[in-house]
């Protein structure tokens, strides 16, 4: 649930050690974009589940545990051990160490979308086409389904998603007679109006966050990263979407309309609770965080569609979200796939929603009982209608780098300078680009 997605937002430097990755790779690696042939049928999986075995699942998402219990009831011969091996980057480090050592590797691991390409590149996780996963086309929202793909290969099943929306404090907006912004231009104007009216109020907090920046560029139709096997392009400088973001955001930074509170700190939650941070543009997984950590805002907050780059547009992007993947070294891949399908596609999905997850499957997103749920925290608003609509409007074709975890870690060194007023956002993005290119080249990628 909520906390699960603290993810790279924190931008902390910890992260994946892919040291062993290169060892197994050779030149033939670059064909990682093709789909593996189907060698295991659904009947094989069902047979393995009936026969039984034990499964180790690494996940920090608290909704996985109840699903595993139900699964064991359904298949009494299967024994599942759910382990919390750390949240986000901590877990990736542990997973990578296990893969390097060749022992202690789980059969299923929770991996966020932005980190999945790292494991996919090293072929540390199974291409689910082996199990005929291609037939699930259309089961998941296009954004999340795209996120687990590397070319034609499918490296995981989406278990949740973070289509973005505007969360705002209606009380503060009403008090200062600010209309809910529908475009980023209006958002910028609202930001100035609000801060002028009350010097202690800010439209939002932003001190630089890699995930947020890339999501906004994503929404603007930008494609700064393209990935084709080991051939990459990294280009913010000539990317229209990136420049759109840089221009609009630079104005707001210059006008000093952002609260300096750093995301996920106590200060930040206080700001969200007391109205001094009046809105947030973030993923659909945010509500449970607000309910839990900014309880005082209850009844004041509302959800609206994400502000647009073009008047009348509907485009959105994803922020966060994670998948379940099967490490290549797992010895119970058939059972693992059975569990993946159960948790991400069939019965498990509704159980996870009931426990607070925001789904990635189109069927559940369109279900009336999901859409009609009223949220007390949001004054009884049916927020899922907006969030679900956002999920279907996610711009397609976005890629993360196969070393996005590293790239995000140096965001503060480069783009962060713009938030300190030491450079402009455009310069910062260029510096980020240069550092990422340098790293990619050093790591043996062909980077343009």
């Amino acid at each position: 649930m909520g906390i699960t997605r603290r993810r790279a937002l924190i931008g902390a430097a910890l992260s994946v050690t892919l040291m062993a990755a290169g060892c197994s790779s050779s030149d033939s690696d670059s064909e990682g974009t093709e789909a593996a042939a189907t060698t295991v049928t659904d009947a094989d999986v069902e047979a393995a589940l009936q026969k039984g075995g034990s499964l180790t699942v690494w996940a920090w998402d608290t909704t996985i545990k109840p699903v595993s219990e139900a699964f064991m009831k359904k298949y009494p011969n299967v024994k599942i051990n759910v382990v919390n091996a750390g949240t986000g980057n901590d877990q990736y480090t542990a997973l990578q160490n296990a893969i390097t050592a060749g022992t202690g590797i789980p059969d299923v691991a929770q991996i966020e979308y932005f980190a999945l390409p790292q494991f996919a590149l090293a072929k540390s996780v199974v291409d689910l086409n082996t199990f005929g996963a291609k037939s699930l086309d259309g089961t998941f929202t296009p954004g999340t389904w795209n996120n687990v793909h590397s070319g034609e290969a499918i490296y995981g099943f989406p278990i949740d998603s973070g289509p973005m929306a505007l969360f705002y404090n209606k009380e503060v907006f009403d008090k200062h007679k600010i209309a809910v912004p529908t475009t980023w231009e209006e958002y910028a104007t609202a930001a100035e109006t609000l801060h002028k009216a009350d010097a202690k109020s800010y439209i939002t907090s932003d001190s630089g966050d890699a995930g947020f920046t890339t999501s906004l560029i994503w929404q603007a139709g930008g494609k700064p990263y393209t990935v084709d096997g080991t051939n990459l392009t990294i280009n913010f400088a000539d990317d229209a979407g990136s420049q759109k973001f840089a221009t609009t955001w630079q104005k707001m930074i210059d006008a000093k309309v952002f609260s300096p509170a750093v995301g996920w700190t106590d200060e930040w939650f206080k700001g969200l609770a007391d109205g001094s941070i009046a809105s947030l543009v973030t993923g659909a997984w945010m509500p449970s965080n607000l309910e839990g950590s900014a309880a005082a805002g209850k009844g004041k907050w509302r959800v609206a569609p994400m502000p647009q780059w073009e008047t009348g547009g509907k485009a959105t992007a994803e922020s966060g979200g994670s998948s379940l993947a099967i490490p290549e070294k797992s010895e119970n891949k058939n059972i693992a796939y059975g569990f993946l399908k159960y948790a991400a596609v069939t019965e498990g999905v509704q159980m996870r929603i009931d426990n607070g997850a925001f789904p990635a499957t189109t069927k559940e997103l369109a279900a009336p009982e999901f859409l009609n749920k009223e949220f007390e925290y949001f004054g009884g608003q049916k927020i899922n209608e907006i969030l679900s609509a956002s999920a279907s409007e996610v711009v397609t074709g976005w890629n993360y780098l196969p070393f996005q975890v590293y790239a995000n870690s140096i965001y503060g060194d480069t783009v962060g300078k713009a938030y300190l007023g030491q450079s402009t956002l455009a310069e910062g993005l260029k510096a980020w680009q240069d550092s990422s290119v340098k790293y990619g080249t050093e790591q043996g990628f062909t980077v343009k």
Binding site: A12, C23, E267, G412
Partner: protein, 289 residues
């Protein structure tokens, strides 16, 4: 002859085995790592001294070294002088509640540095932290200690707070071993308190001061916890190459450049050793002891 040397080995063997395993092996392994390069694409290759030449011309590495060197030159003298003054004050016997004072000054040393950094991090907050409260209550405009211009000072303040008591104890115990008959003799000769400090106490403290300084040199070069913790509160002020240790950590855990990271670690280890050794040699030679 042969038998005698075997007996010697039997006594030292267990120690040597542990020593080799926990001291030499990691260093040897780092040295081994540092002559290879592992890429995400292309695998591992022997590169000889490439990593070392790269490190010596790496501006980020130099920036990190310069930063800790500056920290060393400013923070260590301030901390040691303060520790010395406190030790002298406690030793003078003219303080009320000297033992309470001593334990309070020492207490921060018992606080884990991660906790200390978190605690100070909250106090440094300009919106809801102590600084924010002071600014609001008194109408002052204390600049944000977590801004890039002040962050090193802010860290220096935390480190001083943490280690002043530790250094004070080293110096205080140095003073305690001074033979009290010396003070009596000085008093009989009519020496004042200042004279006693200059002629007896300070010379007696020479050894402890050298030891405290060497610990501080090593500590400065190893600066890690405080900036690493503050990073989550001020991500833009603390770069991923803020100190050499943070840089090595970043290279290894975010960048997967284990080989280069090992190189940085080795260079820093050797540099620290050389500086500490030079300092010790210089100061001991001067003492004539």
């Amino acid at each position: 002859m042969t038998r005698r040397s075997w007996i010697g080995w039997q006594f030292t063997g267990p120690f040597l085995a542990v020593f080799a395993l926990v001291f030499l092996a990691p260093i040897g392994y780092s040295a081994y790592l540092s002559v290879y390069r592992t890429q995400l694409v292309g695998g591992t290759a022997f590169v000889g001294i490439d990593n070392y030449t790269k490190a010596l011309s790496d501006p980020q590495f130099w920036e990190a070294i310069t930063r800790v060197a500056l920290f060393l030159l400013v923070q260590v003298p301030v901390m040691l002088i303060l520790a010395l003054l406190i030790a002298l004050a406690i030793d003078s016997g003219r303080l009320y509640g000297a033992s309470f004072f001593r334990i309070s000054v020492f207490l921060p040393y018992a606080v884990p540095s991660v906790v200390a950094a978190l605690m100070w991090g909250f106090m440094y907050g300009t919106n809801f932290g102590l600084i924010g409260n002071i600014n609001e209550a008194l109408g002052t405009a204390i600049p944000n200690p977590l801004a890039p211009e002040w962050i090193l000072t802010a860290i220096g303040n935390i480190v001083t707070w943490e280690f002043i008591g530790y250094n004070m104890i080293i110096l205080y115990s140095g003073l305690k071993v001074v033979d009290t008959s010396l003070y009596e003799a000085a008093a009989i000769d009519g020496a004042g308190e200042w004279r006693i400090i200059r002629a007896i106490k300070l010379p007696a403290l020479r050894g402890p001061i050298v030891v405290a300084t060497i610990f501080s040199i090593v500590g400065s070069f190893q600066l890690f916890n405080e900036p690493q913790i503050l990073d989550s509160l001020a991500p833009n002020s603390i770069t991923t190459y803020f100190t050499p240790n943070i840089y090595a950590y970043q290279l290894s855990f975010a960048g997967q450049q284990v080989n280069y990271s090992a190189t940085i670690a080795l260079i820093m280890g050797v540099t620290t050793m050389v500086i500490a050794y030079l300092f010790q040699r210089r100061s001991m030679k001067g003492a004539g002891s």
